[in-house]
Amino acid sequence: MRRALPWILGALGVVAVAALWELYKWLGPADGVVLGATAGQAGSGFRILPRTGDLNMPHVWDMFERLAAGNGPGTPPLWLSVLAAMGVTLGCAALGLALGLVVGFALALLMQRSRIVEWGVLPWVIVSQTVPLIAFAPIIARIGSQIDRGGFPWPGWLSVAVIASYLAFFPVAVGALRGLRSPDAIHVDLLRSYGAGYGQTLRKLRLPASVPYLLPALRLAAASAVVGAVVAEVSIGMPGGLGRMIIQFAQSASADPALPYGPVFGAVVVGLLAAGSVALLGLVLRNYRRGEAVA
């Protein structure tokens, strides 16, 4: 029962969002809510709540019905193309997460080893995250195409993965550094008294002790990698993934309002898959998540 509770609450949350959507659609004003509009002047003021018509807010069940239908007679159903796009995006995000994990962990190991390195590197790690992804993505794509011309093939998905890793490495670096620093002085002294070197101290003490810090960092990194992959697909214009699909479908939304919600649901599922795999990892590593022994 204790185990099931989060799942039940999660499912209830999803239902509540759908219910709220339908409730507003049913009760809300047809023209939405606009603040500070000048009378008689169309498009003035701020719309803080959307119009409730089927064009702007399709019914939840319409969205799902649309998933089952194809783009015309003889074409495969929408959910199949969404699934394929999910595969592409998930692949890019996973690769990005793996890259971010390696880079973030390597940085954390270097910073843990030497305060000088930490002082030199940590500010840049933090500054890196203030560069907007939108500005950054085309640069990566351009560097990639230059490498491509240099003789090595540089596919678009690699650019997407690198951009995703740019978001993912940050929480890993910060979380891993804290985790690697987390052992008590008494534990470090103890390992030293056994004559354990750097490698042994790392394997037997610092790595296991960093698990409770790494898991939340990984959860954040996984979500960031998915967001990064979707945004990167859009910004470098890579076809095949969810990002481009959402943009494409949004353009035909006036004729087919439920259409863009297909890839949006796809993105949600990819995010859940990413978070779910981290949760699974946490289950595997649960032994390392025990609190410090209380004396």
């Binding site: 390992l191 008294s193 056994y194 004559g195 037997k204 296991p208 609190g291 022994a293």
Partner: protein, 272 residues
Amino acid sequence: MRFETKEALAAVPAVRAVGVEKTFGKRAKAVGALSGIDLEIAAGEFVSLIGPSGCGKSTLMRLLADLDQPTAGTVEIYGRTPRQARLGQEYGIAFQQAGLLPWRTVVQNIALPLELHGVSYAERAERAQRLAEMVGLADFMDRPPDQLSGGMQQRVAIARALAEQPRLLLMDEPFGALDEMTRERMQGELARIVGQSGAAVVFVTHSIPEAVFLSDRVVVMSPRPGRITAVVDTPFGRDRPETLREEPAFFAKVTEVREALHGVPVERANER
């Protein structure tokens, strides 16, 4: 045994400290933690260090363990440098906190030093289990530390310190965090365990009766700078029954240590 004969074993002291000084910090901020420490502890001898907080007991312990280096003077452990002794596993160490790794079970914690030194799985399992039995934790071998009481955790830490069968045990207030009843029981067990192992012990404590009950000698220290002010012999032999705590000879030694600690005879202080 690592030594050929009993005589050779007796000849080399377990600990020899000559003119040891330890200063923390530089110049104006310098803190004299230890000054002019001369101490010799024979193989198999149990010596307690007692004194008020800040008199350098832990610092001295850390110098013996090569967790810190003296500013001046020399330290030898069985005729070798502390560093050699540390790398050669000459000593086992236990602190006030048990310091168990929370993700390891009781036996895995006890086996940690063995694991680090490449002892085979079968042998370390066997040894760790025997040690767990010796400290009375046979029923808790596969429990994680967070399911043990403070006293049990401390027993695991002691078993871990004994895992490599060291010839020297360094213990820094190992019972400091325990309640009085658990503490007295643990003292009895420690006396028994140490008696079996034949190791020399350096034991830091705040408790005078504890020092007298356990030790062959009690070393009294005073602070600022930390130095040795008195050494009280407590020759009650190897076997120390609980009834020793009730004997007049025991009380006499407790009084002697207390007087040495406070620097004045206690009776006279009371008469005034």
